[in-house]
Amino acid sequence: MPEIFNSAAQPSSSDTQIQPVVAVSAASSEKESKKKLSRHVDEYSLVMRQATPSSSSLKAYTAKPTDTFFDSQQRDEVVLLLLRQHPVTQVKWVFIGIILALVPFLLSFVGFLEFLPLRFQFVATLGWYLLVFGYSLEAFLNWFYNVYIITDERVIDVDFHSLLFKNVSYAKIDNIEDISATTSGALGSIFDYGTVRIQTAGAVTEFDFEHVPHPSRVTAFLNELLLEEEQENLDGRAN
């Protein structure tokens, strides 16, 4: 049998080493080409085009936040919108904190702790202020870390209830079925905040972005993302 047939039937060891390398490079080039094809958010979103990137962490509505990530973020995933409850909804705990801070002054007028020696009264006052500080800190943490994140791929709802309970829900943009925005009450109308309800086909069927600023803008942006995802699927650019 000619040599050439033997070599065709049994590939040489150098050929078997090359094949996986070629397969990996083909996959990576395909990924690269998809990445090149996926458009920048400003190209398809009017909402994002009008927004400027922000590095401020204390805003309730942060479009294109810089230096902001979340734990399960994928390599190519970009955080496009970070939402928290509107600051107006947090006035309640700020007000309670101020009232609690004034309590020792009010009690000193009434003479509530008069039966105790001065050093006991002093320690009690220090303890009270530490308690108020702890209350305010926890309330602030609840506001700051209960966030809603919209990326170019997913919608994420991060919930921390008290200090002991954490819940993070994810839904792919593809799975979104229905979006609605509700603004209610005088404060909601004046300060333009409300609840955005997202119904999905995933494991978590409903996402409520409660009391977020500019609910209609958020809804418009989600619709733009949905349209872009559909377009990607049509063009074969979907990841």
Partner: protein
């Protein structure tokens, strides 16, 4: 039927009770402050923002204050 306590003795019983309540309260608060620091750590890892470092410092300060108050009350009220 019951022994009649002199007023000084009664006052010392009340003060001792208040002292123990303070110690116990501050100790429980120290545990709460420690849990808060742990929770801040989990929160920081869940959502990473440039402000996270400041929050961690505030949490540590809160824990230090809670510890300091417990020690201070031990010394000052002893």
């Amino acid at each position: 039927m019951f022994p009649e306590l002199p007023p000084i003795s009664l006052t010392s019983i009340i003060l001792d009770s208040v002292r123990i309540m303070f110690f116990l309260g501050f100790f429980l608060y120290l545990i709460f402050a420690f849990i808060a620091v742990r929770q801040i750590d989990i929160m920081r890892k869940t959502v990473v923002t440039p402000f996270a470092g400041v929050i961690q410092i505030i949490g540590m300060l809160h824990l230090l204050l809670a510890f300091g108050l417990l020690i201070f009350s031990f010394i000052y009220l002893a």
